[in-house]
């Protein structure tokens, strides 16, 4: 069996520009799906995480149910729900991109909501009490005291979840959205070179996810108060300025 790595060079525009970036006649695109999905999923996830922390049962329990439901169901099922059921109810098919984006936001929000909740719970109770004693309202306490610390604690798990989401976008190819996986499938069917094609996109995916995980490691070290000399120096500076 001989290899033909040349097909990567002859098809790179279709694979990278169309498949990965999403600029081309087919729409779609792995990154054009992943980035809005991450942003919208995080917004919905924050809302769900905050609802789960609420004391009122009619806010708390629906959020718990939402999270537990989506964590117990495969993503493919959720994509199929939107893909097959919306046309039956409304009588018209939505574009693949819209279906994929909706399914990802709804599904990932359950996981991101758990991360947000854990992050907020990791902030010591005394911080809230001190802020309240200092006269801050609930909103100000959340905004200026709790969330800044919570987000710092969340960053490693958030980046991990973003990597997961990025990998999961490959499932959009199942309903026919032209992402990196679908582009490779198309080329490999035409050229009958599955080995080279799938290995190539594996490397492309790997470069993206691995650099994200290295970035998260770097961020974690930089943002942890014990290990970051620049941050500690900045804090010392602030303390000195405050006492002077």
């Amino acid at each position: 069996m001989s290899f033909d790595w040349g097909i990567i060079l002859t098809n790179w525009k279709f694979l990278i520009i169309q498949g990965l970036l999403g600029f081309g006649a087919f729409g779609g695109g792995t990154l054009r799906l992943a980035i809005p999905a991450i942003v919208l999923g995080f917004i919905l996830g924050t809302i769900i995480g905050l609802c789960r922390l609420a004391h009122r049962p009619w806010i708390h329990y629906p959020a718990v149910l939402y999270v537990e439901f989506f964590r117990g169901v495969p993503l493919v099922m959720v994509i199929f729900w939107f893909w097959f059921i919306i046309p039956q109810i409304t009588g018209q098919r939505l574009p693949e991109y819209t279906v994929a984006l909706t399914a990802f936001v709804v599904f990932e929000a359950a996981y991101l909501g758990e991360i947000v909740r854990a992050g907020i719970q990791s902030v010591p109770r005394g911080q809230v009490e001190a802020a309240t004693a200092g006269g801050l309202s609930y909103g100000h306490t959340m905004l200026h005291v709790v969330l800044p610390q919570a987000i710092r604690n969340m960053i490693p798990s958030l980046v991990t979840q973003f990597i997961v989401l990025f990998k999961d976008t490959s499932l959009a190819s199942i309903i026919g959205m032209m992402d990196l996986t679908k582009a490779a499938q198309t080329v490999s069917q035409r050229e009958i070179r599955p080995f080279e094609m799938y290995l190539f996109i594996a490397v492309v995916y790997w470069i993206c996810t691995y650099s994200m995980s290295r970035f998260s490691q770097w961020l974690e070290i930089r943002m942890s108060p014990e290990r970051a000399p620049t941050r500690r120096a900045a804090l010392r500076e602030a303390a000195r300025a405050a006492t002077a």
Binding site: E68, G72, V76, Q88, S157, I163, M197, A202, W206, T209
Partner: protein, 249 residues
């Protein structure tokens, strides 16, 4: 129907499509294939996880590097890509005897087993490593100082604690494997998602067919999670162990 009337939607629910004709049997077959695929892949994933986890601690650098490459490469690429790779790309490079065996015994199913177990083996390896790393070195030193031999310290102290630490993230990871087995439908394995999809194709009753599949997954996942939660509580050492962070997904 009251719900459809309320939403102003015309949809005629026919739950009977789930058990009329062949459909009930299809669903049961789907559950059986999903479980068989998941259990097989789960066993191999554990073996690969333990093997690569152990190799990452040996004092011989090339072996360590090999294990690290395996873990980092396989877990950072989407499972779907791996399934296509193992099903369409890889078989031609295996010896003829293995290819023949593959073709005789259902190439879709066995490609899915290989894809799932190699991918989840890499992730399992990380779970095991995180569990081992969360045990402080001083615990071993303390047990040796009280007069245990190293072997006894491992058998009586380290491994019992490590297993308890690994249970929650490993359960999580096992459930991920079960849910990820649904991707096998893309290469034509007739598992649960495939079967719900097939009922939808035959009857055009998407809502009923997908609800059945979704609920079965939900029951499997919640069932396994609650059994493992009970195991975790039964074997807990009071005051000693805090939950390790959730495994990476």
């Amino acid at each position: 129907m009251p719900l459809s009337g309320f939403l102003g939607i015309q949809y005629d629910f026919q739950w009977s499509v789930l058990w009329t004709g062949e459909h009930g049997r299809w669903l049961l077959q789907g559950i059986w294939t999903t479980l068989r695929l998941s259990v097989l892949a789960w066993i191999i994933a554990w073996l690969l996880g333990i093997l690569s986890g152990a190799l990452r601690t040996v004092p011989f650098a090339p072996l360590r590097a090999l294990a690290t490459c395996y873990v980092e490469f396989f877990r950072n690429v989407p499972l779907l890509v791996w399934l296509f790779f193992w099903y369409f790309g890889a078989p031609q490079f295996f010896p003829q005897a293995i290819q023949d065996w593959f073709n005789l015994h259902g190439p879709e199913f066995w490609s899915a087993v290989v894809g799932l177990s190699v991918y989840h083996g890499a992730r399992m390896s990380e779970v095991i490593r995180a569990g081992i790393q969360s045990i402080p070195k001083t615990l071993l030193e303390a047990s040796v100082a009280t007069g245990l031999s190293v072997g006894q310290a491992y058998r009586l102290i380290i491994i019992p604690i490590a297993l308890r630490l690994i249970v929650p993230p490993a359960t999580n990871e096992s459930l991920n494997l079960l849910k990820n087995s649904s991707l096998a439908l893309t290469i034509g394995v007739a598992e649960l998602t495939f079967m719900s999809r097939q009922i939808e194709t035959y009857t055009a009753k998407a809502f009923e067919a997908l609800t059945a599949g979704t609920l079965i997954y939900l029951v499997l996942c919640v069932g396994i999670a609650s059994v493992m939660g009970q195991v975790e509580r039964n074997f807990r050492i009071p005051g000693l162990i805090a939950r390790v962070g959730r495994a990476e997904h």
